[in-house]
């Protein structure tokens, strides 16, 4: 039973950063903007949150600062792709590189330091239920917020006028523009949301999941987030499922180390990437299926008259 508690509880925590960033990226992609700079935004968010938390002692301030800096970086991406009509792939890479540089500059003096992690207050009363309690209800607040973010994202995208507008813009920005929808504004908003969520995801990594700052600690999670949107064929539920799957894989990595099994740690470290590659190939295999589900204008340079 302890093993099960460890697995479920651990997966929820391990997936939290992925959920935040993936929901943000999903919204941006639904509006037609591919953001490959997530890794840099998560890293910057992580560094910023860690520094602010260290200085102020406030988790709230830390998360807000992380989200803000992630958003600032994403706005650079938005400006490049939406105003200057730069290639989305190149722009995402540029902003990603910029973000990684920024994160290492911000965190330089804090390299290797630790802080007290975000307290795992859990939910009163529910956390006392045997088995279920420790599994689900003894987590920190961000885990619960990330879980709430999933239905919230689904609701906004599929049940509101705003979501309808976002999907329409993602399918055809030209037609949306002709209708008078505010294509540039909405896209910028979606990208900014994505950046803020990536920043929060990064902040969670450095202040809660592994409460320390080390350069490169995001370790490719930003890229896995981008892969998750493909893996989940741009559907909220499937993307979230993918995030938990990867959460459980990184948990596996930890447990193998803990149990001292004789598997090279490098193989375990490479496992998430290998799984991603295999998953991408399986999901993408049917081009019709991808075409039906992907936002039609995703990745295309915006050309409004």
């Amino acid at each position: 039973m302890d093993v099960l508690i460890f697995i479920v509880g651990g997966t929820l925590a391990a997936a939290t950063a992925l959920i935040f960033a993936a929901m943000g990226e999903l919204v941006a992609e639904k509006s037609g903007v591919l953001n490959l700079g997530i890794e840099g935004m998560m890293a910057t968010g992580a560094a910023m949150a860690f520094v602010v938390l260290s200085l102020s002692g406030s988790y709230t301030l830390g998360f807000v600062a992380g989200a803000a800096l992630g958003m600032v970086l994403s706005l650079v991406h938005a400006a490049l792709t939406i105003i200057f009509r730069a290639n989305q792939v190149a722009s995402g890479l540029a902003v990603g590189i910029l973000g990684l540089g920024l994160s290492s500059a911000i965190g330089k003096r804090y390299e290797g330091r630790t802080v007290a992690g975000l307290p795992e207050n859990g939910i009163p009363f529910l956390s006392d239920i045997p088995v279920i309690g420790p599994m689900f209800f003894q987590q920190d607040i961000m885990v619960y917020l990330s879980i709430l973010l999933i239905p919230a994202t689904w609701y906004v995208l599929n049940r509101t006028k705003l979501g309808l507008t976002i999907r329409a813009i993602g399918e055809s920005p030209e037609a949306a523009h002709a209708l008078g929808l505010k294509v540039r504004l909405i896209r910028t908003g979606c990208v900014a949301f994505g950046g803020a969520m990536a920043g929060i995801g990064g902040a969670y990594m450095s202040t809660a999941y592994t409460p320390l700052w080390a350069e490169g600690m995001i370790a490719g999670r930003g890229w896995i987030v981008v892969a998750l949107t493909v893996f989940g064929t741009w559907m909220v539920g499937r993307v979230a499922f993918g995030a938990y799957l990867f959460g459980s894989i990184s948990l596996l990595e930890l447990s193998i180390q803990a149990f001292g099994l004789n598997i090279p740690s490098q193989l375990m470290s490479a496992l998430p990437y290998l799984v991603t590659i295999v998953m991408l190939a399986i999901i993408s295999r049917n081009p019709t299926f991808i075409k039906l589900n992907s936002p039609a204008s995703l990745g295309a340079t915006l050309k409004l008259s």
Partner: protein
């Protein structure tokens, strides 16, 4: 009332990419100045440390040329893929595989003085880089898997493979447990070009590849097909250019070039396989390719500039005491500003006045 309009260029301008790159450099200097002020360093001193200081000494110039070689190689390969809109962002991994393969050969033939050893390393390194990129090509061509993500993931896998090898099977038994292989013999090393520096003959490979790339891009049918596929995929389908061939060609070329760069590192300045075989050349190569306007000659200059920023970042750390994260930020800014200005490649800004409108002849 005069105003400015942005309009499409009627003909291609050969100088536009140069103007855009220079504009990006100027903006980066401005952004860099702000950064130096934040660090409490005089912007002039800071910029001097990065862009000028390295060029004052033979050692500095040597270091720039040394770092230029892998950047040049990688970027020439990547640019050919980027022209076809095949985004190989995993040159880092292909470089590592090239380095590993070449090292295996050098370690296998330890003590050999054969003049064939180095050429052999070059060949296996290139093939290994191609093979690693070939995985992405296969998955993209057969399963439609996004090559951007796959090449990145493969880079991360390559890095773990490297860590495994240098901490395990290939670790120098008498190396005090350092994660590195044995030192290579002279026959497995590129000769030094400029005495007193670490510049070696791998730079010649980069220059040779530049010439080949120039001919390929401008004169070959394969290069023409790749560029049509990148700019107008539907035109390529119409003409009958196979998109799968394009994918394979783009990834194999860029993978091979990155593999060569890996050989250049282990058989050049390092002389062994180690954990830090590349300080991110594979990613910096992306910047070089874009900054060079995806043009072989442009890339030649861009690789020199980026190498200068690498060396300048180290110099700035010592002389004015800014952390070498400044290097990454400068490189990121160069690319960001280049992209911001890149609309000038296909458009131009023109000042128009009402009189100009009135005097223009109506169209037939």
């Amino acid at each position: 009332m005069a105003r400015f309009v942005i309009e499409a260029r009627p003909e291609r301008s050969a100088w536009a990419p140069v103007q855009v790159a220079l504009l990006a450099l100027i903006l980066t200097c401005i952004g860099g100045s702000v950064l130096f002020i934040i660090y409490g360093v005089s912007p002039l001193k800071g910029l001097d440390a990065i862009f000028i200081d390295p060029l004052r000494s033979t050692y500095g110039i040597g270091e720039v040329l040394l770092k230029m070689a892998p950047l040049l190689l990688i970027a020439q390969g990547l640019a050919i893929g980027f022209r076809a809109q095949i985004w190989n962002i995993g040159a880092e991994g292909q470089l590592i595989l090239g380095a590993i393969a070449a090292s295996l050969l050098a370690i296998q033939f330890e003590g050999s003085t054969s003049p064939l050893l180095l050429p052999g390393m070059i060949v296996v390194g290139m093939v290994a880089g191609m093979a690693w990129a070939g995985i992405a090509a296969f998955l993209r061509a057969q399963f439609n898997a996004n090559e951007i993500l796959v090449t990145f993931m493969l880079s991360s896998v390559a890095l773990q493979l490297l860590y495994f090898l240098v901490t395990g099977p290939l670790r120098d038994p008498s190396g005090f447990n350092f994660p590195q292989s044995i030192r290579f013999d002279q026959a497995a090393m590129f000769p030094i070009l400029i005495p007193g520096t670490r510049v070696n003959a791998s730079l010649f490979i980069g220059l040779f590849v530049t010439v080949v790339a120039l001919v390929f891009v401008q004169r070959s049918l394969a290069g023409y097909k790749l560029s049509v596929g990148g700019i107008a995929p539907r035109a390529a389908t119409y003409a009958g250019f196979s998109s799968k061939r394009t994918i394979w060609l783009a990834l194999l070329i860029s993978g091979g070039a990155a593999g060569l760069a890996g050989v250049g590192e282990v058989a050049g300045s390092l002389g062994m396989l180690q954990r830090n075989v590349s300080p991110g050349y594979g990613y910096a190569g992306i910047i070089v390719a874009v900054l060079g306007g995806l043009h072989p000659i442009g890339i030649l200059f861009a690789s020199a500039l980026m190498a200068l920023v690498y060396v300048g970042g180290d110099f700035a750390l010592l002389s004015v005491g800014v952390p070498n994260a400044v290097t990454d930020i400068f490189q990121g800014m160069l690319l960001t500003f280049y992209l911001a200005c890149s609309f000038l490649l296909t458009s131009r800004i023109r000042r128009i006045t009402p009189e100009a409108i009135a005097s223009e002849a109506p169209a037939e």
